[in-house]
Symmetry: D3
């Protein structure tokens, strides 16, 4: 498999893109999953200024880095979320506007629909991101929620995203939702419901980040196998569980890296995710999209973590099927 190994830039947007390109190239990454952020890829500007897009593309190429995918998590989050103050910090002024929720959602949808054309111009065939969710906050079913309420939420999601996905189809670019708590799909069965809600249209696929699966008790390899038709992007991030009877699966509102948390994100190779099972399954299903390293490890400096993760991912990438079966040579003929 010649899958590119990317670095996701979402957690590096405080660093100017040229500097980050320098690091990534020196460490040996093949490409970037590039964040839609004023300092990395300014989606607003890209809409109006094709030269800007070409400059960014040129910058990456000049470092020998490919762009396979854009990351538009923040923007996507606002498309069908119950917007509140927390969203102000993740949105452009233009999208936030006066902050009236429905207006924010509408403007976010418009901005998202403009993205595939820019992505195509840049050379990326995939936009990775979030969708937001009208129903996430009801997952505990208390105060009481009816299944009709839930179903309405999935319908609202579909209604809001279909027009966006039309724009993706027009640009021959795919959207890949990162299956993640707080989103419309956060586990195996909500993914099924999400794909059903959209009629399984090919424009909408999945970004699998196994770190969100570990603490939910989900098997990323099973997920990859069962949803292989819609697996468009893979993030590699690890997570660790703590099971001492005091640490809880919901995290206790404690900050990252607090040892009382029931789970935490860590650098690839430092946690409990079975990456080898995942890679072997990706090999088996013929997945040939990016493996994108995501640094989210509050206990480890990113300048140490990013090259170390790459080194582990290169080991994983060396697990590649033999041409012939090992029992092919058992006989004589």
């Amino acid at each position: 498999m010649s899958r590119p190994i990317n670095l996701t830039t979402v957690q590096w947007t405080d660093m100017p893109l040229p500097e980050l390109c320098g690091h990534a190239a020196r460490w040996g990454y093949d490409g970037l999953t590039l964040a839609c952020h004023p300092r990395h890829f300014d989606a607003g500007r890209a809409r109006q200024d094709l030269d800007y897009v070409d400059e960014v593309a040129h910058l990456l190429r000049s470092h020998g880095l490919r762009v396979n995918a854009l990351a538009a998590h923040m923007l996507g989050q606002a498309v069908c979320d119950p917007v509140d103050d927390r969203h102000r910090n993740i949105l452009d002024d233009a999208v936030w506007g006066d902050g009236e929720p429905e207006g924010v959602r509408r403007r976010a949808a418009e901005a998202m629909a403009a993205l595939p054309a820019a992505a195509a111009r840049l050379g990326a065939d995939t936009v990775v991101g979030f969708t937001g969710s009208p129903v996430w906050h009801m997952f505990m079913l208390f105060p009481p929620v009816s299944q009709d309420d839930i179903q309405s939420g999935y319908q609202e999601f579909a209604d809001r995203w279909h027009p966006i996905l039309d724009a993706f189809d027009d640009a021959r670019v795919r959207f890949a939702l990162e299956v993640h708590p707080t989103e419309i799909a956060y586990d195996y069965w909500t993914t099924a419901r999400t794909l059903d809600a959209l009629g399984h249209r090919p424009a909408f696929g999945l970004n699998l980040d196994p770190s969100h699966f570990l603490w939910q008790g989900l098997d990323p390899a099973v997920f990859a196998y069962d949803y292989r038709e819609r697996l468009y992007h893979v993030d590699l991030k690890d997570a660790v569980l703590r099971t001492d009877g005091r640490a809880g699966r919901l995290g206790s509102h404690l900050p990252w890296a607090d040892p009382r948390r029931g789970w935490d994100f860590v650098t690839v190779g430092h946690g409990d995710v079975d990456f080898e099972a995942l890679i072997r399954t990706l090999n088996a299903i013929g997945y040939d999209g990016p493996l994108s390293v995501e640094w989210e490890d509050a206990g480890m400096d990113r300048l140490t973590a990013a090259p170390q993760a790459l080194s582990r991912v290169r080991e994983l990438a060396a697990i590649s099927p033999a041409d012939a079966s090992f029992d092919a040579s058992f006989g004589h003929r």
Copy 2:
């Protein structure tokens, strides 16, 4: 230990109280943890009509049932929650009013402050319930949340509850928060933070329902031991885990009893909670409050489940320490 074995009536409010008393008494329950609900114990009416309170007390006594505790989950939920449409169905018209969130919260607080006097009149020394939470919905820390935001939420909780607890102190009644997702305390460490936020005042204690602990990976016996000073009420409800790699810990928005859920509530004795460890710990710490059976098992009819649960709880209650140590008689003298 002569702990009363109660039935919680919250899940039976469609059944008139006299009929429920008949069932409970016939099955052999010692008492009720009585729901604040128009058909069981109408808190609004109780505030103004002492005779009503006495009638309810008489009704229970006439069936040989004690009232140890009131259950005010719905009302408490509104005290510091971000109120939305889901709350309309769990609140009185008087409390809901025009549904403007801050007004709802204020009226809920007033109604809650009136409850301890009624409880005392009824003969109950504990009100079990929820608190709501300004921060629960932020537990995933995304969209990004700062620890200051969290801390403000705990402060808001304390500010809203201190005056209520003053009323509890006046009536010499205690409030016992059911530690539960969606509440200000939902696990071990948020309980610590909650008690800290209130300065550990004795008016505010805990209702331990181990079914919420199981799927969060928490050990109810450890919790009971460590928080023994504030353990005022114990609910007995079971839960079951499903760990097939597709079922997720967050429940997938699936209805109760759907076999795809990662966990579910079940009748005592049908799940994975280690009740024996819990009971032995309750014995060791000298807990002498109620053991209150809560029926929440969408896969089992309550008329079957409630007496069956009682039978299992009676077995558990028979586990009671010996007067003398078994090695007391090893020697001769």
Copy 3:
């Protein structure tokens, strides 16, 4: 659910049917899954003698026992197995004939095709049984086996069974393969392949016996959910695992009840099968066929085991969904 609780008679064929009916009725069984065996239900005679069928039906009815299903494991085994000496003891003389494998297979297929008409006359809508397998013995893939060889085996199976299933369709009776090592389907994925090989025709369904799943590491509740469309019969038999590092999953050719075996069959309630998860899933998918107790416990006398198992199954059968949801009464309106 009003599912009948049956006793499977396959392991009781040394006992005359009237005596067995007496036991089963006295213990409280609802019906029998009746073995095709000269002493219980002589399939050969039934083909020619309708009065015989009616007499058997009458015998059962006279004990208040229903016949929901016939059990034709031995006959079915010969349909597409590589026949050898072991098969002589499980077949009629008429089917065995001279023992030449292909002739045996052909005669077994004919006898099997005659069975649905007899079953229908008896009042049973299902024939439970084995299929045999051209490929089972190759499961270790050594000496080397190609996937073409395997595929040919599944094709052979389909070719041999389609005509039989036509006869089932004619009689409006269904065949239910017991998923079981030594058969064409013995686990989750071979079941998928088997159903594919037959084009998922409704005449061919499944008998789920969880005791075969336990030691293979399979989850019976997941199986029941995923194959709910073709689940026609459920056997209740338990199994126990031994995991001491010396006992092996393949059984070491040791006899049943030898404590060195890595697993063993035991009476319902004595092993490691999670029957409650299975029953709750059967409730959820609306399975309304028989629950058939199968005694195969070399460590426990069947006259003790059969009534004891029934008592445990009655407990399981009491787990039946509530009419209303437990949170239906949380609100006031």
Copy 4:
């Protein structure tokens, strides 16, 4: 199997024997494993007064209770232990004397040698007990201990016990060491070493109490199978593990029933011992000695625990092999 179900009286020596016989008979026990204690069976007196022995035998018979075994734990403990103050309370004045360790050991050995004759007179063929150990206290190998030191301890044990075992041979009675921490054999491999040290002489066998095995991580069924030639007595007592990361396997010097302990003894059926695996193994190896219920559960009153344990053991005793194999009837002939 017609194994007697006994009650061990060691933990009841504060209760006069006639009273205990009344209880045991009423609860349904078959016999007693009778403690050598002045109030139950005064070994010192028995040596000199045959009538006394006959009276005790008569007392038990009059309640329909058999005596299969004597329990001489306290006396045996002193035979090769480093005697200190703790031993004073478990020994007769005559054995303790001036407390000088070597003298105590010598007198304990003499008293032990006198026991088999009394046992035989009483009708018991087995004396269950402890041996003490010159090496137990060195198990952590710190302060540093050489294997020579350990070996010397096993030799000393053998030297002290061979003469005692000669007396057992003379009386045709067997000694059964309860494998137990603090004794010469406390686990699987020390049992092997102990039997080796004595040349595997038949007079010296084993009493298996699975409660000591659980927290050491030992498999009682494996032990029973491997040492089946020397298994002379089985105690049924349960134990429970606590694995919360704070509770330790060594018990923290905490009293029984303290919930902080890493393990505790509990009544049969209340803990984690797999009794069914043990019973099935006992059936398989043809063990026909007593199953002796031992009450050591600081969290449960013995008057509740003893009959409850019996009821569970009767269930276990009902697990008894079938005469014929369940597949005997699969064929026709």
Copy 5:
């Protein structure tokens, strides 16, 4: 320990031996476990042509590679197997002949008996291989099989192998059966039965390949310890388990590397085998035979896997006991 680290050539027979020697030497292997195959070591030719044997020996020596062992799995398989079409591809034309099973078995036995002399000439003291089995296919005990049938199979095995082992004794070479499903010994207890059947004659020993043990639930270190007297060869190959409730322990007839399989072979260091426990046990029992790396990993190219495995095995080989105990220096003297 100065155990040679070999590469097993069975899976490389499509590659000419000189080329393979070049690879193995360059990667740093100490020697080869050389496959009996026309392209590696042509056993038929070796019987008649001593010069050929010397040439092969010289070839290996010229690359600095030792020959410790021959691998004769294919030939051995035919000695007491129920021969069918699958065997044609693993046998020489001379051995296969007309394919009549008994003739094939007889010719395979003759060829096997000729091997030890060739091995000795080559400088190898061990022939590793399979035995075939008259009973393997009956492991499920269905269609019903009696223990007499099983016992006859073991007797047949012994009868067929004793004369072969005589030839081994004559040549002072040992046979080491790879304990493996499809063979006469495939787990712990069948190994015991196999050794018993042969009277534990030293000519017949064992080749331990832990990858076959993992998915059977067997502990390779326990096996190595208990059978230390007959452990003549060790293969190092890893295996991985998948336990998602759908993947089965029997492999579902799925090809290697299919992610639906319940287990799979993988390169050393990529699976779940506890090699460190095995190596430490091999150190403790003084095993000084070869550690032979076997590449069977359908998900990893052998040219990548073979040097990577060697690197891991060198790490394991560095685990070698200290001369002095670490507590030797705790004291002063």
Copy 6:
């Protein structure tokens, strides 16, 4: 964190200090946790000869090695232990004297009280060591022990150690007990009791060696977090568990490296301790004392193990928190 990585010299006292310094410096250690032993740091001589202390300090400095801590396990062991022959080999002649237990204990206490001044002169702020224990040998509570006996033992410990700790306070040096079986604190709850017995005086802290925690079922990270105020030193040593049902947690008196033991010490990185969880917790609590590698691996030569362990510890040390949170850059502003 700039924590020094030390080598503990206790297991190297047969090697002259200059030679050991050469090794340690060459391997890359930052410092030594220096054993109080005539060949490394002669505590007796140091008391009287300040030049000697300075020479030792100079020797280490000349190799670029820091001294952060002295190790006085042997001496400390005698302070409140029931002294017997095993202690002779771990004590100086001067301390042992005539071996009369109380005299030994008194002289050990005097020598210990003299140590902090020497440590301070050397530049070390911590003395790591053992305390001995009057109660350790009673941990099984048999022969019967009362809680009063235990409590007296803790009081005796406090009485003997308070004067020693006064000397530590005078020298502004801290004592760090290695929590360890055979000592006054050997697990979580005995540590609590020990600190209570001393009134939590700051002179007395803890040395955490996770290898002792593993087999006791204790979580070292939880321990580090809960006792963070008194964590003065951390040893890095690994341990491995064997759980085959025959190997016992108490070690069976078997020598180190015997594969029948239920657990064993091994080099860092070769066992089951979760060092990453420990390091991340040490980071979170701000522990900045030494990480001291302790070689106790009877299966691995120390000259191989010590540099290998260092390499693993350097990897662990690279896990150091980021300055900024990874979600700091999620927003735009």
